[in-house]
Symmetry: C2
Subunit: 514 residues, 2 copies
């Protein structure tokens, strides 16, 4: 009624504005209704071995898209247009903050070096392979028209992974190290690919020289460190405020409001300062769960944990639902003038490069990591684990779509046939990888980690996970162990010092378990 | 970074779009930062006897508005433009849903008739007095140019009250009946004034006859009943789904997501069906807290209670902050060409009519209610309580502002001098009533209800609240009591039947304490 009355009021001045308002109400209602449907169906299919939440949302999105397409007689397939602002300003921050808030900090920091190795060096390798590969292979299958910069952007677009699917299958309690590696890499690599994409946008390709790569890498390290520091600073400020002001005395709601608002503020401030909001909000989440968490009432703790998880859950479902609907957007398919054969060639090339690019860094870097950071057999990345890590990063998700739209479309629309082909290819790759690789994930993990299912939360679960495959190398193990022990000591020492420092200086000021 | 990169991408095509995006980031960040400030300052001033959350937010809004005005050299005073869509689609629903979710149902339904009497009949009386009064008095102080319809709209705009301020002072445990009356009337009267405003927009004033009033009233009753039924239906559906699907088995987050989404959906569906979203979402909240609440896990219960309260808290702070900033919008003051004397005349007339219009229904209707619905001295509305109820409804708030903008402005801007005067008058009245009446509320209630402070949650607290003022009427009381007993029986019987029906048929299906 209230809205309707504004429509009437608006109509006096402007018929279009009123129609747009009305349309907004219809589309928001439909989207919310479909989201509810996703929640219910996702719950009913929880026990199903082939599917998961993302796949459910995408499939429902496709079905709804088809229905809209039929009822609108081919004019339209989505409820809302893809909006980068919506994605980057409102949907991504809660997902990433929640990731930081729920991460098991001990495992995460224990594996910090390996995570950075995968998430930064790995993405650079994958980026180089996908960029170079598509630049070489696209003309061979008869697709031309992209500039050097666009090939580089393509590398960044298809280097961002979506590990949600695998994380739903792995269990944090059964394989803590593997979980933490897959999870940590997922977050770092989202940030890396966005930062990399941004650096490429600024790159002046005409003056490209050898130093440019180093420059991009330098830029990246600067962004990484400043964004992290900002996130930690805001997290500490919030913890301190919550501790000193002791909000719970009057109102639990104020505590929660302050946590939510400060978390969001950290993201926005990073964006304003041209830093990486993703990294900032992630570290803000880690700091808040480490300190702020202990300064609030028991009710606030429970609420905070679930409020962030629920927001993240809704945002993720929203994104996958959207991707499903967008796949049926007839305009893009019409705008594209590429032949069917070339199209399938492009999809094949990209999927091949994604598989190759990921293999090219997961296996070598795992071996490197085993040499430098491990100090016992339990913390080696076994071949089976390497396969799981490789597989976990094959899915492409919302970040790829958002980057592709920002590169090849303007306000969600593109009329250029080459650009339209790139956007539809991104959608196809995202759909294919999420659906096909996603459906295979559960069976694959059951095969690769056979004890995974039968192992209900044993205390010492790392032992049976060393597969017999590696036992042939046991000669090498001896030598490796002595080297790694030397290298492991500083890491251990740093950790011990940090614990002392934390207990003595940080926790008394910012809060912690007493 | 991510956003910045889209700005760069956008800039190739459209400089303005990029600037607008950037502006959006800046304004959202600033608004979030100021919201945080409000939370902290509101907490620090909690114990202060003159102020409350609304006043704090308005004052901070004014200060920030002044700073923006100075730094932008008089160009601008607010961070975001007033957006009816934002208000009615995103800010109002959580506030009203939370009201329904937290209401003490027993008291609310016990006083249902009185609440409806105040909230519906009362608003019609107040509306008539304000419309007629302004129509008579405005020309006398030299302000002309409004049509009949606009005078009627003015009546609806200034009939909606904002009881938040008083509710922060009253305690639900000390004076349950008074609290429930003030609270219930506040919700019903928001809905009534919006529905009334809408009816006036549709009214063809040229064909105005005696039947029109009846027609508006009939329309209103239809809307009231259908909106209520829709809200109850969606609430029951959600409760049933939560009970049957037993989400908690897998995920607490899904339960909360479903509750939040369904609550919002109820509002949107009402809007789509041209019903009153406010009433729908309010009754949806009541039903959810009565049934759905019992079907979820313990953690979900705690989270749900706080998630809704926090959302409502943030939305309220947001609105008051905005009102404070908007007061300094220089454009509106410039567009207005009314002399200072006339302006103050208008403010005086409106405030006088608000005081009069409210007095004209609170006192007579309280007496009427005492005659028909009470069945013991404890549930009489004493004169002291009548004064509190009258005072509680003097504040004007966000609904008034939103309605005034929808009547007199288009997309938050107005160039017509008469309309600009009306908008600035609304803002002045809202500020004046919230600040001046608001500051006086705590002292006034302490004087009118002297035992209020010293009475920490006694079990039988209604007795000392019957003031000696009424004891003179004790002769009348006898007669009144026998009449009321006769009338009270059906109400009591209905309540008893409902309890039986609820226990036997509703709770086993939709959930409830076992």
């Amino acid at each position: 009624m209230a809205l309707d009355l504004f429509l009437l009021a608006g109509m006096v001045f402007d018929d279009n504005a009123a129609a747009a308002d009305r349309g907004r109400v219809v589309s928001v209602s439909m989207f919310v209704a479909v989201l509810c449907l996703c929640v219910v169906v996702g719950h009913l299919l929880e026990e199903n071995r082939w599917t998961n939440e993302s796949i459910t949302a995408i499939v429902i999105g496709c079905i709804v898209g088809t229905i809209i397409l039929v009822t609108s007689k081919g004019k339209n397939s989505h409820i809302v247009r893809f909006d980068q602002e919506l994605f980057f300003m409102y949907l991504l921050p809660p997902i990433i903050f929640n990731a930081g808030f729920q991460v098991k900090k001990k495992q995460f920091f224990h594996n910090f070096l390996t995570i950075l190795l995968f998430g930064i060096v790995g993405i650079f390798i994958s980026f180089a392979i996908i960029s170079a590969g598509s630049w070489k292979l696209f003309p061979k299958i008869g697709f031309t028209g992209l500039s050097i910069q666009e090939y580089l952007a393509l590398g960044a677009i298809f280097s961002s992974t979506d590990t949600v699917c695998t994380l739903q299958v792995l269990h944090q309690d059964d394989t803590p190290r593997l979980y933490s590696l897959v999870f940590g890499e997922g977050v770092v690599n989202d940030a890396t690919s966005i930062v990399l994409f941004n650096a490429i946008q600024k790159l002046d390709v005409s003056k490209l020289e050898g130093w440019a790569v180093l420059h991009v890498f330098g830029d990246f390290l600067y962004l990484f460190s400043t964004s992290t520091i900002l996130g930690i600073a805001i997290g500490l400020l919030t913890s301190y405020a919550l501790r000193v002001l002791y909000f719970g005395r009057h109102s639990t709601d104020r505590e929660i409001a302050l946590m939510v608002l400060m978390a969001y503020l950290s993201y926005m401030m990073a964006e304003l300062s041209q830093l990486s909001g993703i990294l900032t909000v992630f570290f803000c989440g880690i700091v808040m769960s480490h300190y702020a968490w202990h300064n609030v009432t028991e009710n606030s703790r429970i609420t905070a944990r679930h409020i962030f998880a629920t927001m993240s859950f809704i945002a993720e479902t929203f994104i996958f639902l959207y991707v499903g609907m967008d796949a049926l957007d007839i305009q893009k398919w019409k705008a594209m003038k590429t032949s069917l054969k070339t199209c399938f060639g492009i999809y094949g090339v990209i999927i091949f490069l994604v598989l190759l690019g990921r293999a090219a860094f997961v296996f070598p870097l795992s071996i490197l990591s085993n040499y430098i950071s491990s100090h016992s057999e339990a913390s080696l990345i076994t071949l089976r684990h390497q396969v799981v890590i490789w597989w976990a990063g094959l899915m492409r998700g919302a970040v790829s779509i958002a980057l592709a739209f920002s590169q090849f479309a303007h306000s969600g629309v593109t009329w250029d046939p080459v650009y339209a082909t790139m956007i539809t290819s991104t959608i196809v790759v995202v759909l294919f990888s999420t659906l096909v690789f996603g459906i295979l994930t559960k069976p694959l993990i059951n095969v690769v980690l056979p004890h995974h299912d039968q192992q209900p939360k044993a205390d010492d679960i790392t032992l049976p996970l060393i597969p017999p495959v590696d036992s042939a190398e046991s000669g090498l193990l001896q030598a490796r162990r002595s080297l790694s022990r030397l290298l492991a000591r500083p890491v251990h020492t740093i950790h011990a010092y940090w614990r002392k420092f934390d207990d003595k200086y940080m926790r008394p000021v910012f809060g912690g378990p007493t």
